[in-house]
């Protein structure tokens, strides 16, 4: 994994003055560069470099494998039929155990739909009269018209300086 920056000192100075995403944080010592025959980039021992490259390679491969959207990978998740049966039986036993331990299952009761606290009262009540329905309709229409006619006139500045002396 090499570094893209040049060893030219003028360019390095330019990079320092105008740092960007490729500007390295560490520069190699000039003496080391001469020893390596003007080779650019950070200098490591050959063994370390190989090891680092390998681990970096592995890391990139792993990350890529995680990031790749692979819808064909369903095949790899298939479990043997026997294993599945075993696991299902284990789940069944443990579920029984957990439910017995908690003793909560008796209180499981479907809730009434939210918004209707007492449906029997609502259903048993006499239907509302037509005049009431008309009243509700006309009032709601008037309210809707009134809401449409609301116009906002701004008088004060919308930007308020806050906490500025």
């Amino acid at each position: 994994m090499g570094c893209c920056f040049s060893s030219d000192e003028d360019k390095v100075e330019t990079n320092i003055q105008n740092p960007n995403e490729r500007t390295p944080l560490l520069y190699p010592q000039p003496g080391e560069q001469q020893n390596q025959g003007g080779r650019s980039g950070p200098i490591y021992s050959q063994q370390n470099q190989t090891g680092d490259e390998q681990s970096e390679f592995t890391r990139i491969l792993r990350q890529t494998a995680i990031n790749v959207i692979d819808v064909t990978s369903t095949e790899s998740h298939n479990i043997e039929q026997g294993d599945m049966q075993d696991r299902a039986t284990q789940y069944s036993n443990r579920l029984n155990m957990v439910l017995q331990g908690s003793g909560k299952s008796r209180v499981y009761r479907p809730n009434l739909p939210t918004g209707i606290t007492s449906p029997q009262m609502t259903l048993a009540a006499a239907p509302i009269s037509i005049s009431d329905v008309q009243l509700i309709t006309s009032v709601s229409e008037k309210l809707a018209n009134a809401a449409r006619e609301i116009k906002i006139q701004h008088k004060e500045s919308l930007v308020v300086t806050f906490g500025v002396p």
């Binding site: 995680i66 990031n67 790749v68 959207i69 692979d70 819808v71 990978s73 369903t74 998740h77 298939n78 479990i79 599945m84 696991r87 299902a88 284990q90 789940y91 069944s92 443990r94 579920l95 029984n96 957990v98 439910l99 017995q100 908690s102 909560k104 299952s105 008796r106 499981y108 009761r109 479907p110 809730n111 739909p113």
Partner: protein
């Protein structure tokens, strides 16, 4: 005890018209508890179908728009609502005309049950 849970799930299933089956599975689609009605399509309750959702939710989470929570499929005669409730997966199989919103709401109704079942998966 499991029977009581199943009775509860059946009652819950009855609250949504057209809901044919509720299955709670682990990430691999192994059924932990399942209740079905007479109209439930068998292929939608077999491991090959149930296991796919876990993988698909995982893959769909890589799109860069956050983790995938639910996948709803509409078929010509049925709809499936699948909910990713880590580490569990909920599968609802319903008629194509069933109210999807009510089915989604069942996740909240099942909150207590799911807490208990979470323990079962945690023990494995």
């Amino acid at each position: 005890m499991t029977e009581e849970l199943k009775t509860y799930l059946l009652k819950l299933m009855g609250t949504v018209e057209g809901l044919h089956a509720i299955a709670i599975t682990d990430r691999d689609g192994v059924v932990i508890v399942k209740v079905t009605g007479q109209m439930a399509p068998d292929p939608a309750l077999r491991p090959p179908f149930l296991s796919v959702f876990g993988v698909m939710a995982e893959q769909a989470s890589k799109m860069g728009i956050g983790s995938n929570k639910r996948i709803i499929n509409y078929y010509s005669t049925y709809q499936t609502v699948q909910v990713n409730h880590h580490p569990l997966l909920l599968h609802f199989i319903a008629d194509k005309n069933a109210n999807t919103g009510l089915i989604l709401e069942l996740e909240n109704e099942l909150a207590d049950v799911l807490k208990e079942i979470n323990k079962v998966v945690g023990m494995m």
